[in-house]
């Protein structure tokens, strides 16, 4: 059940992003629900699992988009790895810590996306809209992360995402 839910989360995240949230952008920035789930998973499960989950979620997103397949996979894997390294340094039951890592994760992911897309493959234009886009997306993600983190943390303790529910 745990694995099914972990697989369903990025699927539903892309569905919501492409239908509902795509019409409610903040200053042209859309939220990244897939990243929020990757960040929470990495923060609660450590760097190796975080990097692996980030890679798979990013790859799924790339396959849906159909261009530059692997850019999101690598950037989310790297983000998952770094956020996973923070697991031992912070108390994960604190909501504020959860929101802080979402903000940090969004900035890191944007940075990796930019480095991969621009430096390696010249995909993106370098201008201030990328920086402001990353900041607005971080704020959007933090707002959405409030209810998601409460649900996610409780689920990992005694719900569908808890290790005892693993099959």
């Amino acid at each position: 059940m745990r694995y099914f839910v972990l697989g369903l989360l990025p699927f539903m995240a892309i569905f919501l992003q492409s239908t509902f949230f795509s019409t409610y952008s903040i200053n042209d920035a859309l939220p990244d629900l897939v990243l929020i789930f990757v960040v929470f998973f990495a923060f609660l499960n450590g760097e190796r699992k975080g990097a692996g989950y980030g890679f798979l979620c990013g790859l799924f997103e790339d396959l849906y988009l159909g261009r530059f397949i692997g850019v999101s996979a690598l950037s989310k894997a790297l983000t998952g790895y770094i956020i996973g390294r923070l697991q031992v340094r912070f108390f994960n039951e604190n909501l504020l810590v959860g929101l802080m890592i979402v903000f940090m994760g969004t900035i890191l992911n944007s940075l990796f996306m930019f480095i991969l897309g621009w430096s390696v493959f010249s995909v993106f234009n370098l201008d201030t809209s990328i920086i402001s886009g990353a900041i607005y997306q971080s704020i959007y993600n933090v707002i959405l992360a409030v209810p998601i983190y409460i649900w996610y943390y409780n689920s990992t303790q005694k719900g569908v995402l808890s290790l005892t529910g693993e099959r």
Binding site: F15, S18, F20, S22, E61, L65, G66, R67, I69, V120
Partner: protein, 287 residues
């Protein structure tokens, strides 16, 4: 260093990393066809995304339904659809009218060409889920005859080009996309030709390769020239906002505001076929 080389995870990560870079490189250019896995993923989303649009439509007509005005609502929907078609037709007729008027002044010019379109109407069911690539998804795919690179228009103007197709859906790159270039002319003077390109990071377009002696000015209407293979002639692209001299001093470039408001697009038309047709005898009689 030796510690790393002996670690099997190091080799797994390294191979995965290099493999992913190769994958990015191979999918960074335009592909003729998307893979089966991509098609399966997209087709899994299509019914869900169509369901959301259906729900919105039903919710929108909720009050009309319960106040026994269902028939009125259906009629309204049909009239809206008809209105869209007529707006589109009107746009084409305006262009044809200008062409005929111009050709009338050229005595002896007989071979007038008009274009005929075959189009498929489709609903916009989803938009790009991230900030990096902006596109839209429509609810018609290869089953409806849609193929890659077909032009996508709306009653207001040019929308973009089919980027990839699955059985029941198609991803459309908007004309604001960096990789799209459309042959264009200024509708008012017909002399100025150029190429309209997407800027990628904004909702504006740039028309380049305009000769320095051109009379192009803000407010001019930019339409497709018909020189690009994918796009029929005479479709509105946008309005000129600014004109500036390029650094080389020989050419001008213009900032163009698209005619279409991409955020509000609900329905589009995919041009399945378009072909020039000899002017019918009736029109020759008018001459």
């Amino acid at each position: 260093m030796k510690k790393y080389l002996k670690n099997k995870y190091f080799w797994v990560v390294l191979i995965l990393f290099i493999g992913t870079l190769i994958l990015i490189n191979n999918t960074s250019s335009e592909r003729t066809n998307i893979s089966l896995l991509e098609k399966l993923i997209r087709d899994a989303y299509t019914p869900l995304q169509s369901g959301v649009v259906e729900f919105k439509d039903r919710f929108g007509s909720f009050n009309a339904y319960f106040s026994s005005k269902q028939l009125l609502q259906q009629e309204l929907d049909s009239l809206k659809e008809q209105n869209q078609e007529l707006t589109m037709e009107n746009q084409l007729l305006r262009e044809d009218k200008m062409e005929v008027r111009r050709l009338r002044s050229l005595l002896g010019f007989q071979d007038i060409s008009l274009q005929k379109y075959e189009m498929v109407a489709a609903r916009v069911i989803a938009r790009s889920p991230n900030n990096w690539y902006r596109n839209i998804v429509i609810d018609k795919g290869s089953d409806s005859g849609i193929e890659k690179d077909m032009a996508v228009i709306s009653p207001v103007g040019l929308v973009g080009r089919v980027a990839s197709v699955s059985r029941d859906s198609a991803h459309i790159d908007l004309i604001t996309h960096r990789e799209i270039a459309v042959g264009a002319i200024v509708q008012e003077n017909r002399e100025t030709q150029g190429i309209v390109e997407g800027l990628g990071n904004s909702n504006l377009l740039r028309m380049v390769n305009i000769p320095y002696y051109s009379t192009i000015k803000p407010g001019n209407n930019i339409i497709t020239s018909g020189l690009s293979e994918s796009y029929p002639k005479g479709i509105d692209i946008g309005i000129v906002k600014e004109v500036e001299l390029q650094p080389d001093g020989i050419l001008l470039s213009a900032l163009v505001e698209p005619a279409v408001s991409f955020d509000k697009l609900e329905e589009v038309l995919v041009v399945i076929h378009y072909y020039p047709e000899a002017l019918s005898p009736e029109v020759n009689d008018v001459e």
